[in-house]
Symmetry: C2
Subunit: 421 residues, 2 copies
């Protein structure tokens, strides 16, 4: 397929998100309003919400989490945006990445100049086992679900396939978790915003306080290998390989490129967008890479006219640590089978040659599924504008990428952003 | 807001649907494949499915109906279309109308030349009371649901408000049902494809056969007033005022206008698209018209450069008969409060001055909610191409309109189509 170009350019001129975490008593309506207010404040020159012409909402399943389907007009109502078009897009954990792409199309099609894209999920009202069941409705209800698979099991399948093919070990995955918690410790929005050493210290202090034997781990890997501190969920995926159950919301403002400078002098131009799909896990030829992501990345790179070496900042979908390993190969940062070596060398750390998930990723920042793709875009917004505070990447990054997956990799939405001044 | 124009023209070159009805043993995957095959056969010059670049699926809640969320990639899998982008759009009963609009944007944005739009719903695996509960998740879970409202009650509210404001009577609604069953009797796809006289005759024959007293209704209205044959569901809405619980699927092929003639010499050009939202029922200033539909209609008319008098064929969203009455005013066919008089005069019959729902509407044809908007488009496809058989509208119709509602009118998607030769 030839490279596609947008009919007209689209720019991101504002982005905001709630903290990710567990917020009893708040519904997605409340969370979305909070995210909108932060987004509004992020627009350098301000704007009038009455100028918003369309709303696209990414939401996985308020249906099951809150007994509320048809979420988009309720979000328009909460913000006072009625009667503009309000559309919900659902693509499992890629819901807001795909919603963002629909927002880009909305502007590029000429039907709107100013489009608000949101992402919402409120998961913590249900007990965790129920959340796992709810997420499992994104796997195949005819063949995967009935055979006992939920997502930890599906990603464990990818992990064992990767280990078998390339000689990786569970330590590879543990190193991803250690690195993401290190980054998340510098992110005030993160749900689990402690580094592993901080977690070790607080567990030691707590044991001491309760007069229990104080654990003496030699280092972070020892902590990660400890079955009590880091129990196996679905081998080789342990607790610290799994992203958490989260609530959260995001809001992003997309405008036609020709009016972007009415909003900010530092817009991010959407230079690449790609989306792909795949068959269910059991029908795939390979489990060591995800076709949907490779296809989406190829589209986005081709449209943007850049390659993996041009990406300064990248957020990938580490719903499980194995997903980050595979993503870093699917995006072309490392050759197939080489990511685990690069991770061991620290290349994906903030100060490495190929920093990944400076936000802390889904693992540390949190994973409110319908808001996750937008949360990635919020991080790229901050990194490319030099506003990421303590976790700011060095080297004045100007090109960023987001990689958002749905399910066990049946959908991927990938975007490339550029700051031009 | 100024009239919006699509960045490039979009045409409908194929449309197909399953019968609407109850199909035990078939899932949405099966139904969608059937709809796709009919759509494929409808493309006059044929085409290669490998040319499809993107899939947009309208689906209300396979989540609750089939325990399957994330439906779009499963539909791409069922058709062998992987790895193209596959996106689900949910907008309650307007899901496939809104999905169609996203498909239009997809082409108009330049990101694809050939887009498949689908609509799916499989409702009849659940008992009817559960279906009503499932549909009720599209009403407000914080304020409407807990106070006992389901959709028959919400539309009864609109009906009583309309009666109170304009002096309409329950007979107005009954006449809509009689007319739609008369049309549906000529539609081989209809779930309840009998006219009221046919239903009366079959009820009489059945009573006779069972040796029971044979009902002697003077006319169709007498049948409609009979509490046994047409019980009250939520006054003034009776059984024959309510659309049924249905399964069904639709498939539509959208292409860039400049390549339409590779597919057919009789494409339908999308000359107008509009979408609107509204607050929940309890927050509205008026209950006798739906703001989302008026806003969407104004957008679509303005883009198309036509008015209500130019529409030759129109399918409106008669989820309940009151909705058709209000729609015919919201679309500008009749002044506010005048529809009920026009209906009594027979103006909306196939041979009237303003034919509405030649397909039989949701009432007779069926209402598989995520497929309903697409089902309307399939009827316009047939009417404007002169392929509607016994129910073909007179006068060689060339401009058609679809009006698809979500919930109690929190969303509307409206499209205007033109055949130019």
């Amino acid at each position: 397929m030839a490279a596609r170009k947008l009919g007209r350019g689209v720019a991101l001129v504002g982005a905001g998100m709630t903290n990710f975490g567990a917020f009893p008593g708040l519904s997605t309506r409340d969370l979305f309003v909070d995210a909108f207010v932060e987004m509004r404040n992020s627009v350098d020159k301000g704007f009038d919400p009455a100028d918003i012409e369309s709303l696209v909402i990414g939401n996985y399943s308020s249906t099951l989490f809150e007994n509320q389907n048809f979420t988009a007009p309720f979000m328009a109502t909460a913000l006072g945006l009625v009667p503009i078009p309000a559309t919900r897009v659902e693509s499992a954990c890629a819901s807001s990445g795909v919603a963002f792409r629909q927002g880009v199309m909305n502007v590029a099609s000429g039907l709107a100049d100013v489009v608000l894209v949101g992402g919402i999920e409120k998961e913590t009202d249900l007990p965790t086992a129920k959340v796992t069941d709810t997420l499992a409705t994104a796997s195949d209800s005819q063949f995967e679900n009935p055979s006992g698979f939920t997502f930890p099991g599906l990603y464990a399948l990818l992990a064992t396939a990767y280990m078998d093919a390339y000689g990786a070990t569970p330590e590879t995955f543990m190193q991803v978790g250690i690195k993401n918690h290190e980054n998340g410790a510098l992110n005030p929005k993160a749900q689990f915003g402690q580094s592993i050493p901080q977690i070790m210290a607080s567990k030691r202090a707590s044991a001491e306080k309760r007069g229990k034997p104080v654990p003496s781990w030699d280092n972070e890997l020892a902590f990660m290998h400890d079955d009590r501190s880091n129990p196996v969920i679905a081998w080789p995926m342990r607790l610290f390989d799994c992203s958490p159950v989260s609530d959260g919301a995001v809001a992003m403002l997309l405008v036609a490129e020709e009016i972007a400078h009415n909003f900010t002098d530092k817009p991010l131009h959407i230079i690449g967008t790609g989306q792909g799909s795949d068959v269910p896990t059991y029908e795939r030829e390979s489990l060591t890479s995800l076709k949907c992501a490779k296809v989406a990345a190829a589209q986005a790179y081709e449209m943007a006219g850049v390659g993996p070496g041009d990406i300064d900042a990248c957020e990938v979908h580490d719903c499980f640590t194995i997903a980050e390993v595979i993503a870093s190969e699917d995006l072309g940062f490392f050759k197939p089978g080489h990511a685990h070596g690069a991770i061991a060398e620290g290349q994906t750390r903030r100060d490495g040659a190929r920093p990944i998930n400076s936000s802390g990723g889904l693992k540390s920042k949190g994973h409110p599924v319908g808001a996750t793709g937008g949360g990635q875009i919020c991080e790229i917004w901050k990194q490319l504008r030099g506003e990421a505070g303590e976790r700011q990447l060095p080297g004045d990054p100007s090109v960023g990428m987001t990689h958002n997956l749905g399910g066990s990799g049946m959908a991927a939405a990938i975007h490339i952003f550029e700051r031009r001044n």
